[in-house]
């Protein structure tokens, strides 16, 4: 095995996945909000709703395009860089991926095409329905891909077949309703709604503060309030499901919970949670820390008195359990501990950024209460910082949950190092990493510039879309929308 190719493959997976997931939460959440605006317009006839539909629809599409194309890399990458992983898990892991394509990708892409070009081709209700179906597609997609990921965190519904030397599916429903999946899916979806809520709130707050758009203040005021309410409600969902995740994690991946706190020795009751620590990089020694007594026990077990296992005893247990057979896919030379500073800080960044976004939304909601005009200049800046915070919170959340699983790629079954493609050379892997990373960097600049341009323009004036039978009115007028 070529260690260099392994490191490169790891970095590529991390970079491409985090990058892809910058666009995913906005896509999931904003599809629902755009569909909601369009439905509100249909119900009330208030033209502000249609203007918001089109405005946020446009931003949604700029964002969706990059999420879509970077998603293709994700599917190919398992086979390209992680072929031994694919051989080992394909029987279990491949099914949700295939089903995701059939049930979700077709739905999203087909109905998004209908929505983009359907303004003068579909009756109004059906047209709005297309965006709801896009949203349904994003939910279905999340369900299946998270079921696949949850299986890597907590493999269920399979048996190891020594003859074929691979994991084999024995219960499809167990994989679909894995206990990790049941808490992860709502956590991710609430986070996506929170991201979209902050995005709408931030963009609207920015435009609200611009003199150029003064005439549209009532509309942006509304959008700010809706965004803030969505953020807060979804934020409660994120917190509750995150708490539930903590309990499940303590049960099925105790090492990850210990690594989240940098807890080296088992704490028999009332384990404290440190908000902030200055110490040695491995967290073994602390110089200064702000801690909340018993909170870790509560996060992990639901009781302030609960026992939380420490890294050292768990490591000993894993070495004994997995460390005896060097030919086993579950064997690793090092120990069975994730990189503690990464898990420790990513966990805190995730939570901190989430709380910051919720607090910001609450503040803005209060400032704009009862139709009030907030008398502060920094409203736009604060607003725009919120979607950045929620998006990064998601990134850190994934970094935590994936790094916290290490050295495993499938917990307890296969280490990440044994999953890499044995036939891929360092040259090939490096080429791929360099090409994709540079391409992604260029595209990020392009996308951000486009977003800024279109956000600055603000919502277009109201234009009544035609109400037509399926297929459009039979005339030679220019298309309402064209590429």
């Amino acid at each position: 095995m070529d260690l260099d190719a392994l490191d490169i493959a790891r970095w590529q997976f991390a970079i491409t996945t985090v990058y892809h997931f910058l666009f995913v939460p906005i896509t999931i959440g904003l599809s629902a909000m755009v569909a909601g605006y369009q439905t509100a317009w249909l119900r009330t006839g208030n033209e502000q709703w249609l203007r918001l539909t089109k405005f946020f629809g446009k931003l949604f599409l700029i964002n969706f395009a990059l999420g879509l194309v970077t998603g293709i890399v994700q599917e190919f990458q398992f086979g390209m860089n992680w072929s031994d992983y694919s051989r080992f898990v394909g029987d279990v892991f491949g099914a949700p991926l295939a089903v995701e394509g059939l049930l979700a990708f077709f739905l999203e892409s087909t109905f998004l095409g209908l929505w983009i070009f359907g303004w003068d081709k579909l009756p109004r209700g059906l047209h709005a329905g297309c965006m709801w179906l896009v949203h349904l597609g994003t939910l279905a997609s999340s369900w299946f891909i998270l079921a696949a990921n949850s299986w890597m965190q907590h493999p269920v519904g399979y048996r190891f077949n020594p003859e074929t030397d691979r994991a084999e599916l024995v219960d499809f429903w167990a994989v679909m309703f894995n206990e990790v999946q049941l808490v992860t899916f709502p956590h991710v979806i609430f986070a996506a709604y929170m991201t979209a809520g902050t995005f709408v709130l931030g963009v609207a707050a920015y435009l609200y503060m611009k003199k150029k758009h003064q005439a549209d203040r009532p509309m942006y005021h509304r959008a700010i309030r809706i965004g803030a309410v969505v953020t807060l409600l979804a934020g409660i969902g994120v917190a509750v499901t995150g708490d539930l995740q903590g309990k499940v994690m303590t049960e099925v991946q105790p090492m990850k919970m210990a690594a989240a706190e940098g807890l080296y020795e088992t704490s028999e009751g009332c384990a404290p949670f440190s908000v902030f620590t200055i110490g040695t990089p491995d967290g073994k020694e602390e110089k200064f820390a702000v801690t909340i007594p018993c909170l870790l026990s509560f996060l992990g077990t639901g009781s302030f008195d609960g026992t939380v296992e420490g890294i050292n005893p768990l490591r000993e247990q894993y070495v004994e359990e997995f460390g005896s057979d060097p030919t086993s896919k579950a064997f690793t030379e090092g120990d069975y501990t994730p990189i503690i500073p990464v898990t420790y800080w990513s966990f805190r960044f995730m939570m901190g950024l989430g709380f910051f976004a919720a607090a910001g939304a609450a503040l803005i909601l209060w400032l704009t209460r009862g139709g009030r005009t907030p008398g502060v200049r920094w409203l736009g800046t604060l607003g725009l910082s919120l979607p950045i915070a929620t998006t990064l919170a998601s990134s850190w959340g994934w970094i935590f949950t994936e790094m916290g699983r290490q050295p495993w790629v499938v917990f307890g079954l296969m280490t990440t190092e044994s999953g890499v493609s044995p036939g891929v050379s360092t040259f090939e892997a490096a080429t791929s990493l360099i090409v994709l990373t540079s391409l992604y960097a260029v595209l990020a600049v392009v996308e951000i510039k486009l977003l800024v341009t279109y956000i600055r323009k603000g919502a277009d004036p109201f234009v009544e879309p035609p109400d037509v039978p399926v297929g459009g009115a039979d005339d030679d007028r220019p298309l309402t929308f064209a590429y």
Binding site: G79, E100, G101, F111, R477, P478, L479, T480
Partner: protein, 339 residues
Amino acid sequence: MELTTVWFALIAVLWVGYFCLEGFDFGVGMLLPVLARNETERRVMINTIGPVWDGNEVWVLVAGGATFAAFPEWYATLFSGFYLPLLLILVALIVRGLSFEYRHKRDETEWKARWDLAIIVGSVVPALLWGVAFANIVAGVPIDADKEFTGNLFTLLNPYGLLGGLVTLTLFAAHGAMFVALKTDGDIRHRARDLAVRIGGVAAVLAVLFLVWTQLKTGTTLTAVVFAVAALALVGGLVAARAGREGWAFVGTFATIGLAVIGLFLALFPDVMPSTTDPAYSLTTTNAAATAYTLKAMTWVAVVFTPIVLGYQAWTYWVFRKRISVHHIPTADLADASR
């Protein structure tokens, strides 16, 4: 029929769907500088595939996912083995997919020209490389006892593989031109039809060479029949195009591509990836397959949802059935274009 055979057939169907559908939008993309004489005509061309290209592309994602699930060993060997060509395809699909959405977002000529280049290159590269990849799968590649591909990029660039690439490139170009002829009106429609016949002629010669070569390599009586019908369909399509019957002409290239893919899968069966190192190392529908349980679960999902997907995709084509011509393109004002 064995479930492994069913899934081999289903994966063939997915590739048929992919090549028949994305084949024409690749063709439209690569002919952008050839067929369109100005910005409005370029927009006419892009808008013929605008609402559907993304749905077309999903076919390859589902084919990839289905291969992963139904034949994990095939997926692992193929994707790790054909590493650099797949990387090129990925890059092409990324820039191409983005260009449809981003091209019209700014008015500067330079901006549009850059994205046009992305569309052209992003269409040519996969159209060529998928053919190279498929020809190599059928012909076999060096695979060792551990099911690992032991060749490199140049192993794949053999004469048979390159011919396969040229076949898909020219066939997709002809298919795309037929689609433009079918979906547009005015001057460009006629030019597209003429071009389709010319490219189609080249494609026919290359395709016949390739199919005869394949037949001699691994053919059976059945593949001979399928290949012959595929060739006839192409000739029929070209005749129909010359006669001005664009619908039938498009059906012709559609059928040619579909039948050629079916023929290649028949020539492949029961292998999925033959080894040139030792036939004993070949990946087959049996030794590369997932368990019967997984295949059964997936079969249920496929049986229920494939008809639904086909239904709404077909409906989309019906919704956008009207021809587009230059006067349908909203005037170039950015505010209009992006509304």
